[in-house]
Point group: C2
Chain length 414, copies 2
């Protein structure tokens, strides 16, 4: 445990959420308070920015604007999808990082991201230690996918879940407006873990949600799906279905691959219809009923106007506590949440060894999925409900959100 | 001008909006106050419910629940897409309506809908007059399309516009997160009038919106579009495009028809890709850039969690004033808005003859479209900004909206 003196650096990584900037606000405003921290930097597009020596000087920003980050969606300093090479095979990128850290005397490194990013954090931390360079490295979790291990949940999930649940309730009202039969299939994000799709069950819990919910945790059987839709259609005129984009057959095929030949465009990009679109077409071929496919697409991950207050505050605190821990001398940890109770909701912040989170994936427990494979149990509702509580959104100016606009003063290259 | 004594009936018609139920709350709560109104009914699925003698007895509902309708999206008593036959060719449906109105002594009829519904209203009113049956018939406007003539704007538009503008701002932040080139094409509702797509310009006005906006008011030229996308890509790495679902070539073809052969499924339903999807595919074929298509789909018309307070209140007042006018003896009119000033925003309610609104369509003035055909002028911003002001949404219970749930007690058939 060393009391380091030097600059602090934050990098944002992976796909946007509504609250990744709230964690940035937590890191920045806390870091600016500590005497041991001589400068506060933001990496321009995550680890790529570090490799390129591209930093914003956060000390130049107004505090009010930094606090506005709490309710600004996406990644204000720029994110990246970039996986560092295995240092045992090719240490050159790690050597470059070390060189940059030394040059700018960066002694505190905070990386905000999902399991890939925690792996990056872990490898950097190990490499620096081996090289004898003192730097406290802390992970700050974020992902709408909620798939990080050990921690009870991840910042970003609560807000995305609130969006999914609220929008399903609204779609329920929309779908039931005419007295005709209709099947509505809605696609929710989540490649391997069904957490976000599961949030549709919160709308069903309110009696205003989907009838059938399919997660990627179970193999998807089209015949069973077709049978379940048909059966529900005999009971009621409107059927609403939630499907995860990541559902696969037991042979491991995504739904578009099941029914479509893989077409590639002139540049070799694979072109496949969306999961909901393909399922809607297949239902339309078999039943004479109006079918509609809806995809929440990018809207669901950046819908800051529907952010959960619990999520926004926890994201902020995760950033803040990462700085506090690092200044106390902690390294090689991710800030996580340990649930003390669900009702009333109470969590403790925990410092989880990075290696326990790196590259692992937490899925929805199979015992939380209904026996028919098309819905969630009360255990999931009890788990998720506390995470979507309260509203927290940007102040309105002209009826529209007033998002943060940083000055983004670049640090002079040394 | 007759002081009629009898029942009042409300029907909801056409596609949902966030505030059609707010108008219902205005009609119901006001109607329940008047001594001349002996009963208050809601038609089950609009005019179809009237033909079938299917009514809800609104007098059985709790006032608190009726007020909750103000923030409940879609059509709580059920809507319908049904156009009555021309009474000069086939008066049978009108005779049936007259029979039902007489049987239940309905002396006040309120119909909430778009231009088709105002036509229905107008024809019913004329037929009753000719038949010597006294009934005051009032239209209450609603449509996210904002395409009703004479009135300055329509309830439903402000809230949908607020959704479109807010979501474009959030997508802007989402789209700019990586340092790679990307084109995002977003499809907005509106078949013939581009009002809702124009709302994307409110996000651009905030510096956080689409670069290019295409409305159906102008013929769509693919080569010009392609050129404009390509040019914008040389200036910045992210291009965001808003397109109306209704854009057509100068030959009158919708975009999917331009590039796809019309496929029909086993039941004869035409299958066409969405406008944004097809444009994205075509751009992807011509430029080596990541392209993404997003469709706001049904989400945009029922997003009550983002409703504009101005819209919710005006919708409520339109319903309320329709009742007040009818009780005073007015008939054959639609409640509309006359703008007194935009800054500060001030309107007067007007009673517009139904025949002036029936079956006409108001489009975005061509002089409000930029010379390059891909954006809106300040005149549009000045027009639209007042309509999206303020928040008004359902109380949260469990972090989710508490929508109205009516008892829906049926009126006994006579």
């Amino acid at each position: 445990m060393k009391n380091l003196v030097g600059a602090a650096l934050l990098g944002q990584s992976g796909g946007p959420t509504s609250v990744i900037n709230s964690s940035a606000a937590g890191v920045f405003t806390e870091a600016l308070k500590h005497e041991n921290i001589t400068a506060v930097y933001g990496a321009v597009h995550g680890i790529k920015g570090v490799l390129n020596e591209e930093f914003y000087d956060i000390g130049q920003e107004d505090l009010e604007e930094l606090m506005r980050l709490k309710n600004t969606p996406s990644s204000s300093i720029g994110s990246v999808r970039y996986k560092l090479k295995d240092p045992r095979k090719d240490p050159s990128e790690y050597e470059r990082l070390l060189e940059v850290f030394k040059k700018y005397n960066i002694r505190y490194f905070f990386y905000n991201g999902g399991n890939d990013s925690m792996d990056t954090c872990n490898k950097i931390s190990k490499f620096f230690k081996k090289s004898g360079y003192d730097c406290n490295v802390m992970g700050v979790p974020k992902t709408i996918d909620n798939d990080l291990s050990v921690t009870d949940h991840c910042p970003g999930y609560g807000s995305a879940a609130k969006y999914v649940a609220t929008t399903f309730m609204e779609l329920y009202h929309d779908a039931t407006v005419y007295d005709t039969k209709q099947v509505t299939i809605v696609e929710v994000m989540g490649r391997n873990a069904g957490w976000l799709t599961a949030a549709a069950a919160l709308a069903s819990y309110k009696g205003q949600g989907p009838d059938l919910i399919y997660l990627p945790e179970l193999p998807f059987d089209f015949d069973q799906f077709f049978h379940q839709v048909q059966k529900t259609l005999t009971e009621k005129s409107k059927v609403i279905v939630a499907v995860s984009e990541g559902i696969k057959t037991k042979e491991g095929k995504y739904i578009p691959e099941m029914f479509q030949e893989l077409k590639k465009d002139a540049f070799g990009h694979a072109q496949l219809g969306g999961t909901a679109q393909v399922l809607a077409e297949e239902i339309g071929k078999r039943i004479n009923v109006k079918v509609r496919a809806i995809e929440f697409s990018l809207i669901q991950r950046s819908a800051a106007h529907l952010a959960s207050k619990v999520d926004v505050e926890e994201a902020f605190n995760a950033g803040k506590k990462a700085v506090q821990a690092a200044v106390r001398g902690t390294t090689d940890r991710m800030v996580g949440f340990k649930r003390v109770s669900s009702n009333p909701y109470k969590i403790k912040y925990a410092l989880i060894p990075l290696k326990h989170v790196a590259n692992t994936e937490k899925k929805v427990p199979l015992e939380w999925i209904l026996a028919d494979g098309a819905g969630l149990t009360q255990a999931y509702i009890d788990y998720a409900l506390p995470l979507i509580q309260g509203d927290s959104k940007a102040k309105l100016v002209d009826g529209l959100p007033h998002f943060a606009k940083l000055k983004k003063v670049r640090v002079a290259k040394k």
